[in-house]
Symmetry: C2
Subunit: 261 residues, 2 copies
DNA sequence: CGGCGCCTTGACTTGCATCAAAAGTAGTGG
DNA sequence: CCACTACTTTTGATGCAAGTCAAGGCGCCG
């Protein structure tokens, strides 16, 4: 059993120092104009409705690497759409270990675990400079009562989170180290692709330790498997830069996780 | 890596043969009078609202052991409240293996994975004679637009499913066989307790194979661990009957999964 | 009675964790 | 710009928990 203790960079929530140099979209852009709206908004939303939604969203909260977006146990009041950068969700176990339960890329929504108990059950930590849009949940709920497509969208987002978690469960309980890592690489690849980025060349936003933690493996195993993949010429690894050379073979190895996400 | 192939008892959806002999609550009882309403309904629901909800719920669908409630890939149209008996949710992987992603006891809701893609991503299979209430989702959605507390309740149910899945993820990726099995026993114990049943003596509704599948272990390991627990006088095992003798030591072993559920 | 699931137990194997050490990278400050 | 510290990643050697293979027991039903 891995034994990776938590050493959170204990900075508190980001000050208003700008993260804009890395942020492609201006922090002022409205939901209607956001490049990512196709991912985080219901497609069917009428233009007037987008305006209404726009008015409740707090745009452009900047985070530095290691900053907490929220902490497990904090009162729940909002979910967050990632605008740029990457955020990880970690569950803290009773005995103080961290379990990474997900990585959230631009266009994805984090924080829905908090709804059940009105308090976040995970902590969310930026893996790199990031900015997020805060969506106050109470106001979102109200708005949902008037906008059926928004309500439906939220139900769908949450359901998607459930199916993703269940895929991870399957991965953890049935698959070998190689299969897990292949699946993660493919997942990142296809999520990049969805946002119009390269699906074959990208930079991993997370450390080997985070990958291992997420996949239930040790750092050493992650490193060894990546080396092995490289030796087989499936991928090229240069620190955190990854090039996928033989995506089909990688798919065959992973043997899991559906083509989308 | 375990390699448990699927041999589903391939009966189709239950015919109207009564399951009532095992079903404590009469199939005709309304939501307002149901013993389980505290578990599956929002507490704050006004009596008139319960009536409205009551009108859309299809009560008492009976299932025999091995029957499918729905199958992965079926069009999604409803979620189901378990009324009596036990149902498992299984995810079928690309290579045809089953992964059990949850066990659903009376008062719990199954089927929310289907919302995301408008099609069930899991199959639901009765582990014993069971009856369920069907909640047509489209009508539930409509009703939610008029009843804020119902909308909220559904958000909470889904969020709860998310946090539970994340606990399972943690269990699978960080815990030993003994820890996993202790956690499952405690989970069942406390869910029984919530419904007013004994928390120390109960019958496991699922086979060793299902337990192993759910927890990412082989049948042999499940059996060995249960024997070991019995030798240490933590529990008594007689086939599927379980008595918990030392719940505190069991908690110390499990080292995970919060006291509730 | 005989056959079929389900469960248990034992002997052996193996994939990944653990332990250890060193090389590579990044950040800080003199 | 280099020296110093601290972290991340890689690689190797070794051990163990859980998987695999195999055999036998128990309960159930036709």
């Amino acid at each position: 059993m891995p034994n990776q203790h938590a050493h959170p960079a204990d900075n508190s929530i980001a000050t208003a120092k700008a993260a804009t140099q890395q942020c492609h979209s201006s922090p002022q852009v409205s939901c209607g104009d956001c490049r990512l709206s196709a991912l985080c908004l219901p497609i069917s939303l009428h233009i007037d409705d987008i305006d209404k939604l726009d008015r409740i969203v707090q745009r452009g909260k900047p985070l530095q690497k290691g900053d907490h977006l929220y902490r497990a146990g904090d009162d729940f009041h909002a979910v967050y759409a990632i605008r740029s950068g990457t955020v990880k969700a970690v569950h803290i176990t009773d005995d103080g270990l961290e379990q990474v339960t997900g990585f959230y890329l631009p266009g994805e929504i984090i924080g829905m675990d908090g709804i059940a108990r009105n308090r976040y059950s995970n902590s969310a930590i930026a893996l790199e400079t990031a900015s997020v849009c805060e969506i106050p949940f109470a106001r979102m709920e109200e708005l949902s009562l008037k906008m059926p497509s928004l309500q439906r969208h939220f139900f769908q987002l949450m359901s998607k989170e459930i199916t993703q978690d269940q895929q991870l469960i399957t991965l953890l309980s049935k698959n070998s180290a190689e299969e897990r890592i292949a699946a993660l690489l493919l997942s990142i690849s296809s999520r990049n692709h969805q946002r119009g980025l390269s699906s074959t060349h990208f930079r991993l936003p997370m450390s080997r330790a985070d990958i291992g933690n997420y996949l239930g493996l040790t750092v050493e195993t992650v490193s060894r498997v990546l080396s092995r993949f490289q030796k087989q010429a499936l991928i090229c690894v240069d620190k955190r830069e990854i090039s996928i050379n033989d995506i089909n073979k990688l798919r065959k190895i992973s043997n899991a996780m559906s083509p989308y996400n």
